[in-house]
């Protein structure tokens, strides 16, 4: 990544708590992240370290309790409902830990990719073409007319990625992309994803347990008890990842 690339994500002093059964849970204590446009980062940490909560905050699904979170020029603590909708729609794409959570079972594979598009406007023929290219890039071109229930685990994960990238977001947020996959198909998936992100010029924050994912990102951040800890850069690029 170039040192002069504009900042895509700027998180400083982020803390977040939420309530469960009347109890307050401190999920994030102090998180600092700087991410340049097009940069890809893996966030690693133990279970309960706050990784998923961090993604939820960055996806504007939760409002940060404290600290500054700016992504693509949007201050997430100050978004009203309309701007939050626009942010979710145009700036970030989200892949849930259970990839089927991000899909509509009543629609075909292709129609699922078009769902984010028609949230703001009517679908045009070129949108269908773009969605088709996304599916081709995710090796799902032949499954465009199938329902998600007929897809395998890896295909479901690929579709979830295609849906998340349908609106050409600046930032992809993915939660445990490879947790349900054996490393052989996971490696293939990560390679395809890196290539696609490179084509789109999108950045990514991948939450993962798997240290092997680090080979497919530019940097690794460690999250320990809700606090980010710097980690050495991986030095891997999309091109390198593909090899």
């Amino acid at each position: 990544m170039s040192a002069t690339a504009p900042s895509l994500v700027s998180v400083s002093g982020l803390a977040h708590t939420y309530g469960v059964a009347g109890e307050r849970v401190v999920a994030l204590r102090r998180v600092d992240i700087e991410l340049a446009a097009g940069e890809r980062v893996a966030v690693m940490g133990r279970s309960g370290s706050g990784k998923t909560t961090l993604l939820n905050v960055l996806a504007a699904l939760e409002t940060p309790s404290r600290g500054r979170v700016a992504i693509g020029g949007h201050d997430l603590a100050r978004l009203d409902r309309r701007r939050r909708d626009a942010y979710r729609r145009d700036v970030v794409g989200y892949v849930w830990q259970q990839p089927e959570d991000g899909l509509l079972p009543g629609l075909t594979v292709l129609e699922n990719v078009l769902v984010p598009v028609i949230g703001s406007r009517h679908a045009r023929p070129e949108d269908v073409a773009v969605a088709g290219r996304l599916l081709d890039a995710m090796r799902l071109g032949e499954r465009a007319g199938d329902r998600p229930a007929r897809l395998s685990a890896i295909e479901t994960q690929r579709l979830a990625i295609a849906v998340a990238l349908a609106n050409r977001p600046q930032l992809l947020l993915a939660d445990e992309l490879t947790a349900r996959l054996d490393w052989g198909v996971a490696r293939e998936l990560l390679g395809d994803l890196a290539a696609l992100l490179g084509q789109l010029g999108a950045g990514a924050i991948l939450v993962t347990h798997d240290p092997r994912v680090a080979r497919y990102v530019d940097r690794v951040l460690l999250l320990r008890d809700g606090v980010t800890v710097p980690a050495p850069e991986t030095g891997m690029t999309a091109g390198a990842a593909g090899r």
Binding site: E62, D85, Y94, W96, D101, G106, G119, A123, A129, G145
Partner: protein, 677 residues
């Protein structure tokens, strides 16, 4: 990408797919919407058909109004016609249709036929000479022609019924003569020639006043009064006749017309004049019976309408709850709230549109079948004036349904999406004692409204629409009381088997979330109230005797409403507890692996169902009986017995529910449902 898969997705298509890809629930939604519209609409349609058929029966039997008076000459006859016509028009407008004036004289004893002495058999017969205006409109000429008015000449041209001519052995062109005593000591002979033979177009034509004449010579007006100059034994009698038809009267005008006809009869009476009519008394009696029958049907229709709305609310709530993740996903993907609401609303609304078409078809088929069976109730008796009220009622139900769907869809998308995309679990309706008591008090006032001092006078003075609205007040009161009772009802008290594991588990569930079965309980309570009320209405003779149309209409409407309501309620009850069973299995699923017998959970859920059903059915029976007392004439002993029979029937129904309740959870496989619960 494969060819053929590149059709662009639209929001409308997305809404339709969302609404229909869960086929079973879409069907449940469709059925509940169709029933919610069809049942009350059918009841109101049956009411209109029964009332109009009853009115037609009443008018067919007693719809005549005639004024008879001796008229010495044609001028007096014409004067009587003008006078009566003017007063009838002034009093009744166009409600009474003129059948045309008639004049008769006679009797005529034939002395010669075809210029020969009349046979003895013929001379013993007497004929009547008649002039009837508009005769040509009511007969078919089978030979010759009808006499031309006022032609005069040497011999009078007459026509007669073919049946009478055949009976007397007379034929076309026969010349007939009769002798009269033309004044003191003078004999006069009157001769006529038969120029036409006719038969009536319809024997039940009010024109004949119940009996088609046979031995009658019909002639022109002036010829009849020329004949009268020969002083037949009976001086000419003029009769000015009217008939009230359903089309001219209309249901709304029946009550008012009865009073006006009474006034007209009093106005027309004179020493030498006879006024013949039972119309006013018949209309008054019919109106009283019709109001009682309509009040019963309207009350049941109101119960069924609310029942249908509740069933739709339960199904749509569950339907949208199953889509909650998907709707939250759209919000999480940045779809504006209003757009997600439209997806939810348009989906269920599109299903609803097809349900409306089905409801209309159900009503049309039911009305056609009833009309075709010769039950006395016919869709053909409906008047154009019935349609606005029917359409307004159906439109009101449709608007209520649309509003309900819109509200439930808004509630489903109102909250910001949770990161897990899981919707909050509903707790069911709960309420404290104060709102429940307030509802009950308002409900009691509604039920007592028709019996408050001055209510009868207000009802009599009110227009038909206002009267209809007032007559459903007791039903609305019953609904409020049912709502209050569901809120107040301590369901845990009804649990049987306390002290056992499953009984304690059921009690714990009902105490933890006391309102979770409130919707299902309300459905059963209203349906059972409707069933008891319908049984009492049928057996109490609300439609009165001598009105087959009204009676059949009331019976069919009550049966359709009671059965339809119970079916909807039982279906809603079953769907609710099916969902509850899934939730329970999910809730206790982990414990099954640790040795909790699934039968314990089944029995505890069955105990909840039995408690809910039992309390709702008992409450509903009491409410139905109270509603019958408020709306119907005091039931005789037979009605009380029928009510008791209905209570026993509903008790059996409760036993059936309890039996089903025990079996249904057993059929649910915990291993298959854990993930979906």
């Amino acid at each position: 990408m494969t060819a053929g898969s590149n059709a662009a997705l639209t929001r409308g298509r997305l809404a339709w797919r969302q609404a229909t890809h869960r086929g079973g629930w879409a069907l449940a939604l469709w059925l509940s919407l169709a029933a919610a519209i069809a049942l009350p609409a059918l009841l109101l349609l049956l009411n209109a058909m029964a009332v109009e058929s009853g009115l037609a029966e009443t008018l067919s039997a007693d719809g005549g109004f005639s004024v008879r008076q001796t008229v010495p000459d044609v001028d007096a006859f014409n004067a009587l016609d003008r006078q009566v016509s003017a007063r009838v028009a002034a009093r009744t407008g166009d409600a009474l249709v003129a059948l045309g004036p008639t004049a008769t004289t006679g009797p005529l004893h034939l002395v010669t036929v075809r210029s020969e002495q009349a046979p003895a058999a013929l001379t013993q017969r007497t004929l009547t000479a008649t002039y009837a205006a508009h005769l040509a409109d009511h007969v078919a000429v089978v030979a010759g022609e009808l006499p031309v008015e006022g032609l005069g000449g040497g011999e009078t041209a007459v026509a007669m019924p073919r049946a009478g001519a055949d009976q007397l052995g007379l034929g076309l062109s026969d010349r007939l003569c009769a002798d009269f005593t033309a004044g003191p000591g003078a004999q006069a002979r009157w001769c006529a020639r038969i120029v036409g033979l006719w038969r009536p177009l319809a024997a039940d034509d009010p024109f004949w006043n119940g009996e088609v004449p046979r031995l009658e010579l019909t002639m022109g007006r002036f010829d009849l009064f020329e004949l009268a100059k020969l002083h037949p034994p009976q001086a000419p009698v003029g009769s000015i006749r009217y008939w009230a038809t359903p089309w001219a009267v209309g249901l709304g005008g029946a009550s008012g017309l009865a009073g006006r006809v009474g006034e007209l009869a009093a106005d027309m009476r004179a020493p030498n004049r006879q006024v013949d009519s039972r119309l006013d008394r018949s209309l008054i009696a019919f109106t009283a019976r019709q109001r009682t029958a309509s009040a019963a049907i309207h009350a049941l229709a109101a119960l069924i309408a609310v029942l249908g709305l509740t069933a739709v609310a339960l199904v749509v709530n569950r339907f949208l709850a199953m889509q909650s993740r998907e709707l939250a996903l759209l919000r999480a993907r940045g779809w504006p709230r209003g757009r997600v609401w439209r997806v939810a609303f348009v989906g269920v609304g599109a299903v609803g549109m097809t349900a409306v078409a089905a409801a209309v078809a159900i009503c049309a088929i039911a009305a056609a079948v009833l009309s075709a069976t010769g039950s006395g109730v016919s869709v053909l008796s409906l008047q154009p004036s019935d349609l606005p009220g029917l359409l307004a009622a159906v439109a009101a139900i449709a608007v209520a349904l649309v509003g309900l769907l819109a509200l439930l869809a808004a509630r489903a998308v109102w909250h910001e999406p949770r990161p897990s995309l899981r919707g909050p679990e509903g707790r069911g309706t709960t309420g404290g004692a104060a709102p429940a008591i307030a509802l009950g008090a308002v409900g009691l006032a509604g039920m007592a409204l028709p019996h408050l001092p001055g209510a009868a006078a207000a009802l009599a003075a009110a227009g038909s629409e206002a009267r209809d609205a007032l007559l459903v007040a007791p039903a609305l009161g019953a609904i409020l009381i049912a709502a209050g009772a569901v809120m107040l009802r301590p369901p845990a008290v009804w649990i049987r088997g306390r002290g056992t594991v499953h009984g304690e588990l059921a009690g714990f569930q009902l105490e933890r979330r006391p309102g979770q079965h409130a919707g299902a309980a309300f459905l059963l309570m209203v349906a059972s109230a409707g069933a008891v009320f319908a049984a009492l209405a049928v057996t109490s003779g609300a439609a009165g005797a001598g009105q087959p149309g009204l009676r059949v209409g009331l019976d069919v409407a009550m049966a359709a409403g009671a059965i339809g309501g119970l079916v909807v309620a039982l279906a809603g009850f079953g769907l609710h507890f099916r969902g509850a069973a899934r939730r329970r299995v999910g809730e206790y699923g982990g414990l099954f692996a640790h040795g909790l017998p699934p039968a314990i959970v089944s029995r505890s859920l069955a105990a909840e169902q039995a408690a809910t059903a039992g309390s709702a059915l008992v409450g509903g029976c009491v409410l139905g009986a109270a509603l019958a007392l408020a709306v119907l004439p005091m039931p005789p002993a037979a009605a009380v017995l029928a009510g008791l029979a209905a209570v026993v029937g509903l008790g059996l129904c409760a036993a059936a529910i309890a039996s089903i309740s025990r079996r249904v959870p057993d059929r649910i496989d915990p291993l298959r449902l854990r993930g979906r619960a």
